[in-house]
């Protein structure tokens, strides 16, 4: 487990008023994730201090905090070689002038020690041009094997204070690893840190598996398996790896695309009977099922709003696949996508403000976002084949699958922020698809 505590010796939250000149006009130092932001905010990390037995963790923690921040595309690290100030200890006064001189807008100081099998990370954040701390210093500790989580937690604090957005670095992603030729792909479900570290395999590749999706607390995964020879929605305990069928498909039917409601009480999924696919809902505790749609068209890819009251899904009832919203108990759906081409795999942002989706138009695929009423539609990506967005816990970044064309084409995971900037591949070995971003870890 990871614990955090506020450092008591630190001054109160930075007041309003004097602020960094370049990136914020008023109030505390702040960079906003908007279309207008082009220049990353320069920041410096003063060399962290070893407060006892930190060893290799000292540099690793510091580097990971920097990597988390620069990986957002919102921040640029000023290299240590440019630093003037060399603080003698974690509690030494900050020489703001030295950091101003190299144009560091934000300064992070920190210390690491190892004690009783734990890595203990302390940090403080400063608004250099305001000449004051930005929030309280904090401390995180984690078992040495989980040192990355302590670093992610510290970086999450910095990110949140500088952007005003929720944290997301300390989170995990479930995905499908793909191997073998395109006409005989083998797939297995893996789980990794958001940045591709700490990959663990949850299934072997003897059975075709698709689309893992976390429970709200991250303890279970829903997915689709061909273990019986026919697609079936399954649930797996992430820790024990115990699996069971949801029992959603009877003989001669197929169930797939399962997803939890935000409170974990319900599971929505697609059920195919006699060639027709509709959306069904299951009580996760009792297994009781009922249909939410009843149409001769294809209804699939359901995703709940964060308040659990609505479901967005795709349907080809109009002739092409489009996005619709209905109440959590079904009822008449309202169409929200009206652009050219085909829309699919809608996913409601955990912040509730947007829906991410796949759009196929003019021979290209896009990951896009729109408001929940369909307005302000915006394409974030374009390629031969992009599909299946999943939201970071803070609703400001999406991860998706990008497939390259051709007989040797392969899927890879990429992420992009909601302004369409900072597209980058997720660093994992091998081909991968179907990411599902889990919750922020406690």
């Amino acid at each position: 487990m990871l614990r955090k505590l506020f450092l008591t010796s630190v001054m109160a939250l930075a007041g309003l008023g004097l602020a960094a000149p370049v990136l914020a006009q008023d109030g505390p130092l702040r960079i906003e994730i908007t279309d207008g932001v082009i220049e990353p905010m320069p920041f410096a990390i003063a060399q962290f201090h070893d407060e006892g037995g930190a060893g290799e963790y000292l540099q690793q923690v510091q580097s990971l905090i920097a990597a988390d921040l620069t990986g957002t595309g919102l921040f640029r690290e000023i290299p240590a070689s440019a630093h003037i100030a060399r603080p003698e200890s974690f509690d030494a006064p900050v020489s703001y002038e030295d950091w101003k001189a190299i144009n560091a807008q934000a300064l992070i100081t920190g210390a690491v020690r190892v004690e009783g099998g734990k890595v203990i990370v302390k940090f403080r954040l400063f608004d250099v041009f305001a000449g004051q701390p930005l929030g309280d210093g904090m401390q995180f500790d984690a078992a040495t094997g989980n040192w990355r989580r302590a670093a992610h937690k510290a970086a999450d604090q910095v990110y949140s204070r500088l952007t005003g957005e929720g944290p997301y670095f300390d989170s995990r992603v479930a995905f499908v690893q793909e191997s073998g030729p395109k006409d005989a792909r083998r797939k297995r479900i893996g789980i990794m840190d958001y940045d591709g570290a700490n990959v663990k395999w949850l299934t072997d590749d003897s059975t075709l598996v698709l689309k893992p999706r976390f429970s709200p607390d991250g303890s279970r995964l829903l997915y689709t398996s061909y273990a019986t020879g026919f697609p079936q929605a399954m649930v797996m305990d992430v820790n024990t790896l115990a699996t069971r069928s949801l029992g959603s498909a009877q003989q001669g039917t197929m169930s797939f695309s399962p997803r939890f409601s935000p409170d974990g009480r319900w599971i929505v999924y697609s059920l195919e009977k006699n060639g027709n696919t509709d959306i069904y809902q299951m009580d996760a505790a009792t297994g009781a099922q009922r249909a939410l749609t009843n149409a001769p068209s294809i209804e699939t890819s359901p995703s709940y709003s964060p308040d659990g009251r609505q479901i967005v899904f795709e349907s080809d009832r109009s002739g092409t696949p489009q996005l619709y919203i209905m109440g959590a108990n079904g009822g008449e759906p309202k169409r929200i996508s009206f652009g050219e081409g085909r829309y699919g795999t809608p996913v409601w942002s955990p912040r509730g403000d947007m829906i991410a989706f796949t759009r196929q138009v003019s021979g290209k695929f896009h990951i896009g976002v729109m408001r929940t009423d369909g307005s302000e539609e915006k394409m974030l990506t374009e390629s031969f084949l992009d599909e299946g967005p999943t939201w970071a816990p803070n609703g400001r970044v999406v991860m998706f699958t990008r497939v390259t064309p051709g007989g040797d084409g392969e899927p890879r995971l990429h992420s992009v922020d909601i302004t369409g900037r900072n597209m980058r591949p997720v660093k994992i070995n091998g081909a991968a698809s179907d990411p599902d971003w889990g919750p922020l870890l406690p």
Binding site: P181, K182, D183, A184, R185, L208, L210, K211, G229, F230, P231, G252, M254, F256, S257, S270, E272, N274, G275, N276, T277, I298, T300, S301, E314, D316, T320, P321, R342, G344, T345, T358, Q360, F384, L385, E387, G388, V403, P405, G406, G407, G409, S433, D434
Partner: protein, 173 residues
């Protein structure tokens, strides 16, 4: 019967036919001929699956029908193939069939699963309309997971938008 066993039997059968042929027509002493020369041509030994086998269904009857983009409607050519499939299934009542529905890689994974199911169902309904008992038929969709042709052009896509009827011994399921 698994694939290895089938292959073994096929090879054994071909071998036996060849051995018989060799016995029936002893080679002249003076001439040494390559027994494989011309194999597959006019002078070679052909092999054809026997009509009551899964291999015959696949190669002679035709196990695959193709579909247009996003469609699950059967084409006239498809109906002819399915009529032949139904005829074979009605003659070979010891077999049951799983109809696999497939899609090309254009389209999302989930939509393609549903689309593959629609295609498999079209085939199933047609076979039933031709007198095949529903209890001998089952469908499965692979969506875009199992392409037959792997290029990323219409030439391959048109082969991947398919339903394949896979027969196996066993009367029902």
């Amino acid at each position: 019967m698994d694939r290895v066993m089938k292959t073994f039997i096929k090879i054994a059968a071909v071998g036996a036919v060849f051995a018989l042929a060799a016995c029936a027509r002893p080679m002249p002493d003076a001439q040494v001929q390559d027994p494989y020369a011309g194999a597959g041509g006019a002078g070679g030994v052909g092999s054809t699956a026997l009509p009551g086998t899964a291999e015959y269904f696949k190669t002679a009857v035709g196990d695959t029908v193709l579909f247009a983009v996003d469609q699950s409607t059967l084409s006239p050519e498809g109906r002819v193939i399915l009529a032949n499939q139904a005829g074979w299934l009605n003659q070979n009542q010891g077999f049951s069939a799983v109809i696999e529905g497939h899609a090309d890689e254009q389209g999302t994974r989930e939509y393609n699963l549903a689309l593959g199911a629609r295609r498999a169902n079209s085939v199933q309904e047609y076979l039933i309309s031709q007198g095949v008992p529903p209890g001998r038929l089952r469908t499965v969709s692979y969506g875009k997971e199992r392409p037959l042709a792997i290029c990323s052009t219409e030439e391959c896509y048109s082969k991947n938008r398919r339903a394949v009827t896979v027969v196996s011994p066993g009367a029902g399921m």
